[in-house]
Amino acid sequence: MKNKIINKETSATQVNEVFLYMDIKATIIDQMGLERTITRLAHEIIERNTGANNLVVVGMRTRGEFLAKRLHKKIKEIDDSTVSLGVLDVTLYRDDFRTRLKQPEVSVTDITFDINDRDVILVDDVLYTGRTTRAALDALMDLGRPATIQLCVLIDRGHRELPIRADFVGKNIPTSINEEIKLKISEVDGEDAVYLIDISKENKQEES
């Protein structure tokens, strides 16, 4: 399934549209698949925490934010309890300020509730080197002292550079470093899907 398509990419904070040629190798998860995966993750999270009473869901900007929203909705549907939802921006905690060419855009962390002694479900789209997760852990610790932090990712693509492991995984996809996982979510991209993309011919995009 190797087809060149023109893809409109917009991020939540960026209004201008960047046209990107993507070399799609495979569709890993389609719309129905995403729905099913999120449902399963929600059940797993509630099961392992014996209920949702003490949970808070925190999504990492930008794609994790939308996944967290859906996961949060699903958890509430299943358990019928009040679970808080927050958004974490980890830009200020990154470790690559000195090595990057482009200055990262910072946006606001929106966690208005107390995370002390709560079980925090940290949500991100792709787990790769683990560096973004490390930054997120530091960022969360500065906001309080949670009882636990549990990492929930949609895709684990391997290539870890730090001793970090996800507690809940949508799908394990072994990848090569010339590939990239791209989550499309209807709120931003107009469709729900996860693609495996070949970036060997393009400028490699930065990813966490």
């Binding site: 200020l92 905690y93 300020f97 910072v106 946006s107 606001v108 962390t109 500065d142 906001l143």
Partner: protein, 304 residues
């Protein structure tokens, strides 16, 4: 995306996108200031020197807090107690400080143009914290941020800067910044305090404080700077207060006005005490926002 310059010397000629980026970035840091741990590790390992050749409380503390909250290492230099008293030239002082490997220099000096000069003799990022009667860009940026926070926009607003325009670097930076962001700017004060040809910057000039209150959305009221011989421009402080002081009675002409003041306030001179503590002013918000805005500037220059 990043700022177009690696220094912040003034707001003259700074493009709208840059100002917008600083204000947007400051929103992030404003949130950090409300956290239990008001510190992020972003500028870890960066060394910043605060070179203050002129006295300052607010700006120096604000910069120092901003630096500490970004985890930078800071060194403070004050003119008193330094080797400049032994006859060392300014250039030598700076060269020596730079030889100790610093990444950024925040400078305040009584002479205009010192920050500009520093960019020629140093490789560090230079931030102007006030140079003579020239510019004070971070003050203007925090004024812009505070106006935007309160009124949700800057474009199209009518803003009047009141007081000693001639002696004020806050006024000049505000004029540049406000005009760039699309505000309609006027200045109001005794004729002796308004520089000739200031209209050429694109501001309106008048001398009627009641008109200024009636016709504007925002008043940025400047301090009468007694240390800068403002006394020679006006007969007495009481007379200044009578004709240009903002009082509760005068404000009845416009109940929607927003009042800014860069501090420190001379109570009973440019603002009556009632107004200085009253519902129209956002003076202490300005101080809080100042830390966030300075964090934004330090972040944007320090990670460039």
């Amino acid at each position: 995306m990043p700022l177009s310059s690696r220094h912040l010397l003034g707001l003259h000629g700074v493009p709208k996108e840059d100002i917008q980026l600083i204000l947007d970035t400051a929103t992030t840091f404003r949130e950090v200031l409300d956290r239990p741990i008001k510190k992020v590790p972003t500028l870890q390992g960066k060394t910043i020197v605060n070179l203050f050749f002129e006295s300052s409380t607010r700006t120096r503390i604000s910069f120092e807090l901003a630096q500490k909250r970004l985890s930078a290492d800071t060194i403070n230099f004050a003119k008193s107690g330094s080797s400049t008293g032994k006859g060392e030239t300014f250039k030598d002082t700076v060269k020596n400080i730079e030889a100790m490997k610093v990444d950024m220099i925040v400078v305040r000096h009584e002479s205009a143009g010192v920050p500009q000069f520093l960019t020629r003799i140093s490789d560090a990022n230079i931030i102007n914290a006030g140079d003579g009667r020239h510019e004070h860009p971070t003050q203007a940026l925090l004024d812009l941020y505070s106006i935007r926070e309160k009124l949700k926009k800057i474009d199209g607003l009518k803003v009047c800067i009141v007081g000693d325009i001639g002696h004020s670097r806050v006024a000049l930076s505000n004029i540049y910044g406000l005009l760039t962001m699309g505000a309609k700017v006027s200045v109001c004060g005794p004729p002796t305090m308004i520089p000739r040809s200031i209209e050429s910057l694109g501001v309106e000039v008048h001398h009627d404080i009641d008109r200024a209150i009636r016709e504007n959305d925002v008043l940025n009221v400047l301090r009468i700077q007694l240390e800068r011989e403002a006394g020679s421009s006006i007969p007495t402080l009481r007379e200044y207060h009578k004709y240009f002081g903002i009082t509760r009675e005068r404000l009845q002409q416009n109940e929607d006005i927003l009042i800014l003041h860069p501090g420190p306030i001379n109570r009973g001179v440019e603002l009556s005490s009632e107004v200085a503590d009253g519902p129209f002013q956002i003076i202490l918000n300005q101080v809080t926002n100042g830390v966030a805005v300075r964090m934004a500037v330090l972040y944007l220059l320090g990670t460039l």
